[in-house]
């Protein structure tokens, strides 16, 4: 008989783990809001994945253990005696299988692709990705902070000359786990948030410095914005177009706000992080000509249609012009 397994959160914390941090990390892993992950945690012991094969169960186990929540893999076919017996005398005897049904309904666990975690959100996000054996991850040049010694790094010229012009590094580093699964820690250049998207045929446009990492089946190329758009936006001439299938991570300067565009929406050009394909966009001025020069907003991007736009709360340009005031004065000879 084929044995299946349940992955169960025991409702306890791993040694030394902080409860809030662990719950948040758990939420980030399953893309749940803090409230939602808190409620899942409160329902513990609860199965977050049921009737799965051993490999998947172990993958879940490793990923969840990293968040700081204690979890265990239970033989699902072993009947309804949960293996979470120790220290559970005060809890009414609840089989993890029963709450599992509700969890699956409330919180669709969409666990696809590589397992990863994001720590320090939203101010100082840091990404750790588990690369399975014989898989490869594309990472923005110089973003690697820590990694297992057996990862093999190869620097690739990706996207051709176009990427050179975007101001994005010409090189992408490819990390291959040729000698078994390995872990890599990735620190983006700007302090801010990180977003994970699992692409399944969709296409996303990223602002030129937002790319962090992607799996091999995600295609990255650059999109010429047109002379006018690029020139007036004060930003780069290009956007990065990410398409295909797989995991994609991108980052921001400041926190990220997700906006569902229904009709039309205006975003300051320097606050755009990413947007979905299908949205029409044009660079325009806000208000009249007086506003153009005096409002401090300059040009904005007007999105039309239906889709999603990710914006960042901080603006690197605004920060540098603030810092400009503090530049040392050149001494006269």
């Amino acid at each position: 008989m084929h044995t299946t397994y349940n992955v169960v959160i025991t409702g306890k914390l791993a040694a030394g783990a902080d409860k809030t941090a662990a719950i948040n990390a758990f939420g980030a892993l399953f893309k749940l809001s803090p409230e939602k992950s808190q409620s899942v945690f409160n329902k513990a012991p609860v199965a977050v994945k049921s009737n799965t094969d051993k490999t998947t169960a172990e993958k879940f186990y490793r990923a969840i253990s990293k968040t700081g929540l204690e979890c265990r893999v239970v033989d699902a076919t072993a009947g309804d005696t949960p293996a979470v017996s120790q220290g559970q005398k005060d809890t009414p005897a609840s089989s993890p299988a029963a709450p599992a049904a509700t969890t699956d309904n409330d919180t669709p666990v969409t666990f696809k692709g590589f397992s990863y975690k994001i720590e320090g959100r939203p101010d100082y996000s840091f990404l750790t990705v588990e690369i399975p054996a014989n898989e490869t991850l594309k990472v923005e040049a110089s973003a690697m902070a820590t990694m297992d010694t057996h990862l093999v790094m190869k620097t690739k010229l990706k996207g051709g000359f176009g990427r050179f012009l975007t101001g994005e590094s010409l090189f992408l580093n490819e990390f291959s786990a040729a000698n078994g699964a390995a872990e890599i820690g990735i620190a983006p250049g700007t302090p801010g948030d990180l977003v994970h998207q699992h692409l399944d045929g969709q296409t996303l446009f990223l602002q030129n410095s937002a790319f962090v990492a992607a799996t091999m089946d995600v295609n990255l190329d650059t999109k010429w914005q047109g002379m006018l758009k690029g020139f007036f936006s004060g930003e780069s001439f290009f956007l990065i177009r990410a398409s295909g299938k797989g995991d994609l991570w991108f980052n921001s300067y400041g926190a990220i706000i997700e906006i569902d565009v229904e009709d039309d929406y205006v975003v300051d050009t320097s606050n755009i992080v990413a947007f979905t394909e299908g949205l029409e966009y044009e660079i325009t001025k806000v208000g009249g000509y007086k506003s153009l020069f005096l409002s401090g907003e300059g040009f904005v991007c007007r999105f039309k249609g239906k889709g999603k736009v990710w914006i960042q709360t901080r603006n690197a340009q605004a920060f540098t012009s603030w810092a400009h005031f503090f530049r040392p004065v050149k001494s006269k000879k």
Binding site: A255, D264, V266, V286, G296, T313, R314, K330
Partner: protein
């Protein structure tokens, strides 16, 4: 006007929801994103009451010369505002009271709030910080931004705050610029320089970091102008 602060305290942004007919006044350059139908007008002062003199005064106070007024025309709209430095924001509701705001900390206000530059006399000139303060009065909501976290201090009696750490304070408080230590020499060597001594009863909102100190820490790393 509904104000919601998100991603506090490190990377705060303010989401302002405006009903039809409402107007929100914001510091120039603060808009991050907004509904497509939002109307924007740029003036030198309060909408409809433009005065170049008042604008000039505001420019002197370290605030931008211009203000943007956002109105969603005939249907509800939303507006996102951010600041250039990382930090928290504070939403306050004024009820016919006066609030004195450190220039540069002002982010947005409801149309019903009147704004004027407060001249605090030569004592502010000595403080080494901005010379001017903004005087907000009237009734309505106000959003302030800070560099770092914001913490309120209820003053009843005397209290001393470093001039670079003040975000805003109630006008009921009186303040004098003074030295931190017992002697002028000590105060300057101690790096504290001038401080603000508040007296009376009221609230002072302080920011955890001093933008000027941060800027000066960057100076050696920046290219020469």
């Amino acid at each position: 006007m509904k104000i919601e602060l998100v991603n506090r305290p490190g990377n705060t942004a303010a989401k302002v929801t405006l009903a039809a007919g409402e107007t929100c006044t914001a510091e120039a350059g603060a808009m991050i994103a907004m509904s497509g139908h939002m109307n924007i007008t740029t003036t030198t002062h309060k909408k409809g009451a433009g005065g170049i003199f008042k604008a000039a005064k505001r420019m002197l106070s370290g605030e931008s010369f211009f203000l943007n007024h956002f109105d969603p025309k005939d249907k509800e709209g939303e507006l996102w505002l951010g600041s250039s430095l990382a930090g928290d924001m504070l939403a306050l509701t004024l009820d016919n009271e006066n609030l004195i705001v450190q220039s540069g900390s002002f982010l947005a206000s409801e149309e019903s709030v009147d704004m004027d530059m407060g001249w605090q006399g030569f004592k502010s000139l000595l403080s080494g910080e901005s010379m001017f303060w903004l005087n907000l009065k009237g009734r309505g909501q106000v959003v302030l931004s800070s560099f770092g976290a914001i913490y309120p201090i209820e003053v009843d009696g005397d209290y001393i705050v470093d001039t670079g750490h003040i975000v805003a304070f109630n006008e009921t408080l009186d303040f004098t610029i003074t030295k931190a230590g017992s002697s002028w020499l000590q105060s300057f060597l101690g790096g504290e320089g001038l401080v603000c001594k508040f007296s009376g009863k009221g609230t002072v909102w302080c920011q955890s970091h001093n933008a000027n100190s941060f800027g000066h820490a960057l100076t050696p790393k920046l290219r020469k102008a």
